[in-house]
Symmetry: C2
Subunit: 479 residues, 2 copies
């Protein structure tokens, strides 16, 4: 177990320095590499494979709901970005500008897309003419660029991968329904597939997307109590449609503007997975997106029959549809244990000569390291149960963390005390005024995460101004 100890020592403990622990993990689990391109990371095979699994699940769900994939250009001409006033104000300060093609200065500079509403609108103006053309339910998988000042792998990078859905509907009701439906898709995905409990809610006007009428969000709490906005869904009304002159002839023969939504989830969610489930031994991955779900580690495998049995077992599990790796390299079992714990493989299966004699193997879940003896003949059947139990434990543990770090406050004194105590989510009532939202930031260092769909009545007044409260808000410090 020498190498095991060595590896473990190489990661900073979460309790010592959470930020350092995080960057240790993303490098040692071989998720990313830094590049000489400011703020951009290399997604290594193991990191990219997590994203591929996320893509596969979400893409199938989007298509099941009738969405189609398209690909818009990478660039947006400055004049196109400027068509919707709020949108350009929100994004122009943080875009990368292409000003030269080859050795020639461009007549009009192009930004590298920070998001693609404007491009979709330009296209929709070409193809939407009649109510028969609606709804249009498009999505694209791509990367976008936002010229962030300070960056962190997955959480905030100048370039990141995401999907962006952009839909057009005949009525406001249908568009709002779509906005809510897609937030539900993200919430279910986070909770059921990623074992990340999330709060669903609406963003305040200050925090909403540039150009949107309403932004819905799922907010997750990380191990350290900080919030991560994990997926958003926007309702635009017909603001962009008017700016881009998109019209359709409705059933009543009237010319109308369609109503629009957009929604996105990005590689940021991988940062969320790391900070929700990871521990001092490394990554802890939810089975649905783990590149390797089961690793088989044969013990003393130069003895007769061990490797053969391990190979058969590997094949049986693969045929059962599992992502399995057999590590028959020369490294010691202890080194392998540490390696796959670092990589967050949900289940390790150990198999030695004495096990084989007894017809059993030992399954060890990544989270609790409980040693479970399983008859070899039953393993393929047992693994899905073991993975499901593991997923539930991850979810419960994350939920307990969130509940332990969520408090309610009725006065600013309570807010400040709870924030200073390092609480994660602080619930208060709110009058709805921007000034009070800004005061929460100045006085307690908190930003509004959302106005949760599940409202509570904590008191009748806003803790900042004392005026009548309109809604309950969850506040926190956010990544």
């Amino acid at each position: 177990m020498k190498k095991d100890d060595k590896l473990v020592q190489e990661i900073t403990s979460r309790e010592v320095d959470f930020a350092k622990w995080y960057t240790d993990i993303v490098r040692k689990a071989e998720l990313i590499d830094y590049s000489s391109v400011r703020g951009c990371c290399v997604l290594r095979p193991y990191g990219y494979a997590i994203w591929e699994n996320i893509q596969k699940i979400l893409d199938a769900k989007f298509k099941e709901l009738g969405h189609e994939n398209v690909m818009m250009p990478l660039f947006i001409p400055e004049s196109l970005l400027q068509k919707e006033k709020d949108h350009v104000e929100g994004f122009a300060p943080e875009v990368a500008w292409v000003t030269m093609g080859g050795s020639e200065q461009l007549a009009e500079r192009l930004c590298v897309r920070p998001t693609s509403e404007t491009l979709f609108c330009e296209h929709y103006a070409h193809i939407i003419h009649s109510y028969r053309d609606l709804p249009k339910l498009y999505n694209q998988w791509c990367s976008v660029v936002r010229w962030e000042k300070s960056t962190r792998p997955f959480l905030r990078t100048a370039e990141f991968l995401w999907q962006e859905g952009h839909t057009m509907h005949a009525t406001a009701e249908e568009a709002i329904e779509e906005t809510e439906r897609m937030l539900g898709v993200y919430a279910d995905f986070a909770q059921e597939q990623l074992a990340m409990p999330v709060v669903r809610g609406r963003k305040t006007d200050k925090e909403k997307f540039a150009g949107a009428e309403a932004t819905y969000t799922i907010e997750a709490m990380m191990h350290d109590g900080k919030a991560l906005q994990s997926g958003t869904s926007h309702y635009f009304g017909d603001g962009f449609a008017k700016a881009f002159d998109i019209t359709f002839t409705d059933r009543d023969n009237q010319l109308k503007h369609p109503h629009q939504t957009s929604w996105g989830m990005s590689t940021r969610i991988i940062g969320g997975i790391i900070m929700t489930h990871g521990d001092d031994n490394g990554l802890v991955l939810p089975p649905a997106v783990a590149p390797v779900q089961v690793v088989i580690v044969p013990i003393a495998f130069h003895k007769g029959g061990v490797l053969e049995t391990a190979q058969q077992l590997c094949q049986t599990l693969q045929q059962a549809g599992l992502r399995v790796k057999l590590d028959d390299s020369d490294a010691s079992p202890g080194w392998k244990f540490a390696e796959y714990e670092m990589k967050g493989v949900p289940l390790r299966v150990e198999l030695g000569p004495r096990d084989i004699e007894a017809g059993v193997c030992v399954a060890v879940p990544r989270d609790n390291r409980e040693k479970i003896e399983v008859p070899i003949a039953e393993l393929a059947q047992r693994v899905p149960e073991l993975l499901e139990a593991y997923r539930r434990r991850l979810y419960e543990k994350a939920l307990q963390n969130r509940e332990a770090r969520t408090t309610a406050a009725r006065t600013m004194e309570e807010v400040k005390a709870q924030s200073a105590a390092g609480n994660g989510f602080i619930k208060t009532m709110w009058c709805g005024e921007l000034a009070c939202e800004e005061a929460m930031k100045e006085q307690a260092g908190l930003t509004s995460r959302c106005m949760p769909f599940e409202q509570e009545t904590l008191s009748d007044v806003c803790p900042v101004c004392g005026k009548p409260a309109k809604t309950m808000v969850i506040w926190g410090k956010a990544y």
Copy 2:
């Protein structure tokens, strides 16, 4: 059949104006839309779905051969692009430059990747240390940008989608083997899945990739006789490795530079599919990549039982793993026939009340429009056979076109006469000198397509200079 006639009239005939026919097809089959971004297209759902099918097949093949997907940054700092001399000379004149982030001028300008050798090399320098780290077999799916002066959908656009494989090997032999293996993957894919006959060969030094020691290519002939370079594979030796200081300790304890390859196929291949198989009624798609493989058109389907039978049939075919669409819209059968011919759906199945009484349906392949009566109960079993026969016919037809338009020339008079006669591929011997290659361009308007792996001896001398010939070259006019 009124609407049918109308639609057919809307496409320019191939024989009247092949270029116009092509752009008519890409718009009327709803593959692309133009955008206000110079030289960039929107890939619409039907066009993007073809690319998704191409991706699925190639990606599975790459992974089967041990390749892993990664994601490199979108940008390349100018200093990084300049590290390999030939490479920067080849690409710098045609890149888009980012010079501003937000409102600040960048200290060093960044180009939008035209290809990613330099980024892969920077990363490989970080992660390759020992022979145990080799080979590295990486691939990425992304878009790249080349600031082309004149553009055409799929064939030449400022931004295009592609995959780029980048591999590192301990020895030159292994790297050359990989270069050849991946060209073989492209050739098999083109011929077997896309029904496009291709010539495999090596590019001349003039036509090879900037920075490569050798470029291999598959060259296809379009319906009009012009060539399309459809996939390339490059062997770099250790030139980049030296420029980027990538070294590894070999088994013999010596520090060595690894040997490198890269290989790519792009959305350009969709242009190749269109121009190889399409006809005056629209697209003709190979089954492997057709978004819809079978369209069911119920006739007089308001009569009892027709729609139900069509729905059952649709389900049965889907369960057999086929991509099927049932069009139960109000449009006339004639309009539907024309629509799905325009979209190149390989097989149409017609189903009317009298057919159902007789327990049959009528299958009509897109290419020859033969009406094949098939018992409904046998359709699911017959469709794969019908699609396979169709694929073979597409391949044979394309091969016949290529053979009819391929000639051999021994003198410049023959070359000029054959080129003037509109022949597609002209085979000649070649001395290997650049001057003679340039003379072919000046005197006959031809560029070298490749030195085919399957060589013939047409004569002993180069038709341009009369000196001893070293190799046979295929010349042509290229997209």
